[in-house]
Symmetry: C2
Subunit: 200 residues, 2 copies
Amino acid sequence: MSDDATRHREKMEKRKAVQDAEVAAKTVEKGLLLVHTGPGKGKSTAALGLMLRALGRGWRVGMVQFIKGGWDTGERHAVEVFGDRVAWHTLGEGFTWETQDKARDIAACRHAWAVAEGLMADPTIRLLVLDELNIALRYDYLDLDTVVAALQARRPDLHVVVTGRNAKPALIEAADLVTEMGSVKHHFSAGVKAQEGIEF
Amino acid sequence: MSDDATRHREKMEKRKAVQDAEVAAKTVEKGLLLVHTGPGKGKSTAALGLMLRALGRGWRVGMVQFIKGGWDTGERHAVEVFGDRVAWHTLGEGFTWETQDKARDIAACRHAWAVAEGLMADPTIRLLVLDELNIALRYDYLDLDTVVAALQARRPDLHVVVTGRNAKPALIEAADLVTEMGSVKHHFSAGVKAQEGIEF
């Protein structure tokens, strides 16, 4: 073995010892509260990826979309193949500038929250995505304390993913994992439109 | 209608006009080069979500994993349901501290890149994920100029997603979309272990 290869191996042996010790120190298993926030892309998309992974483990999963409305999406078609292992609820009415009706937006969010509470109480669901819930909280369409308390009181084996920009500090405080998606570069700025298969 | 509801509607009408103008200004359709980088969670997971969305549109998709090795993952099980519409190649040998063999790591990356080139040339593939390619580039296991040139020369209807920390500036320069996943809070810091269905 060359000197370089030997040095590499020795360095990696040390690194592996550190990594193994770190892994061994982590022993807790629990249902997580995950938050995907920030201005960048990938918040809802990463939640979809988690859903796919969970389905691969044989879990039942739930999706409640608080803002997204009746429009056709690839993800909704895709999950049909998993049948009743996916409880999918698109309950938004579209963006606030589409409905132009605050009372209707609030009513839609409250209905979506009631559906989310039902799914949280369903012991067959192991992962629940609350898509754009942060938007509903940001506009005070739902009571923050009520929502955070319900998320904190989730079943010990239930993972919940909350998406949307501008996550409230109280939700971040309650969460186990918070990822901030930052936008370094966006093709919309270069005149590229939202395309089927990528954005929806 | 109350004054408040009227003001809300007027404000949203104006906002909708702005939004509609923005959408109308975006006319370009093209295969995108998307990069998910940064230290936070969600880089590979958002790529999986994109894959799910694309599958929902009836596309064929490809996945090449450059670093992840033979271990069992939920996502790999999940995509089996889509049959030969997913070309899935797990070609890594694990992390560098697992193999402890630089020559073997380099050979694995080169093989994975050759498979990626084959998929880029396959006109039935519309979305290709090159998972952890950034890691292979960071360690100079692949030639950066060659990789960036091949990605830039992709078919006009092929979307490519590159994931991994520390994306190289030349790749960011070539990309249409770059999202930086930032870690605001991580459950590993609180002693929670990597759990089946969430991390793998």
